[in-house]
Point group: C2
Amino acid sequence: MASARISVRELARQVGVSPASVSRVLNDKPGVSESVRARVLDGVRVYGLPGQAVGNTGGSPFVGIIVPELDNPAFPTMAAHIENALFQHGITGLIGSSVAQGGVDEREYIEVLLRHGARGLVLVSGWHAHLKHDHRWYRQLTAREVSVVFVSGLVEGLPMPSVGTSEASGARIAIRFLHDLGHRRIGLAQGEEHYRPSVNRLRGYRETMGRYGLADQSLYAEAVYTMDGGHVAARRLIGQGATAIITGSDVMAVGVIKAAQEMGLRVPEDLSVVGYDDGPLAVYGHPRLTTVRQPVDRIAAATAWTMDQLLKGQEPPQLHQRFDPTLIVRDSTAQVRQDS
Amino acid sequence: MASARISVRELARQVGVSPASVSRVLNDKPGVSESVRARVLDGVRVYGLPGQAVGNTGGSPFVGIIVPELDNPAFPTMAAHIENALFQHGITGLIGSSVAQGGVDEREYIEVLLRHGARGLVLVSGWHAHLKHDHRWYRQLTAREVSVVFVSGLVEGLPMPSVGTSEASGARIAIRFLHDLGHRRIGLAQGEEHYRPSVNRLRGYRETMGRYGLADQSLYAEAVYTMDGGHVAARRLIGQGATAIITGSDVMAVGVIKAAQEMGLRVPEDLSVVGYDDGPLAVYGHPRLTTVRQPVDRIAAATAWTMDQLLKGQEPPQLHQRFDPTLIVRDSTAQVRQDS
């Protein structure tokens, strides 16, 4: 997708001055008349700034990367990785947040981006991931030749590719680790159940706890995907005798730790906590989080590659790509207390 | 800047089918022939999706919001506030990060955005804020009728408006607060000195410490604006006998706290720490940060208002707007220890 930029020589020819004059004007040096200066700048307005050819051409339309919000650091981190991976393919990704757009309907916001020239959309944890939304209208985007890649979540029955982490596998590896540390009362604190990643995580949690013979519905708490959500869920789960809590995001894990500390529990001595994401938050807090790491690099690379294929009019060989997460062990987990 | 969207009725008229058919196609309902369906979708491709008029029109060019990186949560938070404030003016802001664009030269990245149709640029902590960069080329943007607002930092001698926080005032209020708590060995840990906000903060620090008769060059540590930078600076300042450390960002403050804890010091009992930003990080960590709050809402509102003026071809009445920060007192500061 490389596009050549105009050369200094060519720009000089177009506006009828010497290459040296173009150079002087562009470097804001003296020795050119006002009229020459005006001609060069007019030329720049028409032909763009001369320079080397750049891989990342602005001549082609851009791809919009829509995240729900930018306050949870996991989203800007994911968006930045996708922006960078698109850049590797010569595609410009520009980031917007639905919440920052006055909380508009996703459809409205997508229309705005398309009118600004977006030819592709990377939708991160968008309406596609929420089971309560009507997904049929996404079909129109295909009909209108807009390339769409879903990140985290997918829509069944649509030809739109998706990329993400296997949330069920994340629950599995976290529970296995905690089980090895002697924990039996392992709670799950996560966000809304109408959100597909939550559904998957809950499935993984139930299956794994069932396999260990530890299933107990009272150890599951649904809240919202925020620090306060983690706080609320933790109070309930600790009340139910949980010695360890796995969560749906690092932000929620931070809320769980705060709730535990307020209740006079030490983390990890009295309560083990496992985050999800391994975003910037995981290492900023104290204790640093043991967390299920989403492979953002691989997700971003697969998203960009798939988008590139779509923009070239090619079918991606795989419709839904899911990557297994890894467990990053830090300081928020420990062996269960002997008296638990 | 409101632009009417085509109505269902008008779209139906344009493509020669009934409004009911348009409705059925758009809602993916049965009962329309393939040829009617194709005509409606062709119409949508040409005229856009019918619906209510939207305030935020995609018909006008967008404004690019460039931040250096998205991993420090202060930047996505600032960008989201600016995006939202622009939205209030009917302007679409799209966010990009120079680092995510392969760390390209700011000039190159700006060219890419302009070719994608950006008519304005909000540059947050960009090259304009770095004294070592040559700023003359920004002049070309004016010549090319690109509207530019600088956030945090400014360029003297250019007609480009800037908006930001008074960093000197931030240092002043933090030192005054710590002085009232009995601290006398107050260190400053901040980022690179060729960065204008650092210069301003250092000036405020020196003036205020001087006024208290506490000036001591060994209590100033320059590092990088990251958690590791805070860590490195803290080790040095603690070694110099600092009982309190003010910093250039919340991220650095988190690094200071980590260093203190590793050295066996308790925060705030043995060391008081003051952050800067009051971004999401300030409340996620433990202890929660006492921090100098940048008034992001006011900065974002002033930035958007100024951009709106520029896009309308009007002069903003004030070239450089600086807001005074406030001190948010949380758990990372306390009275100096009696034996200090």
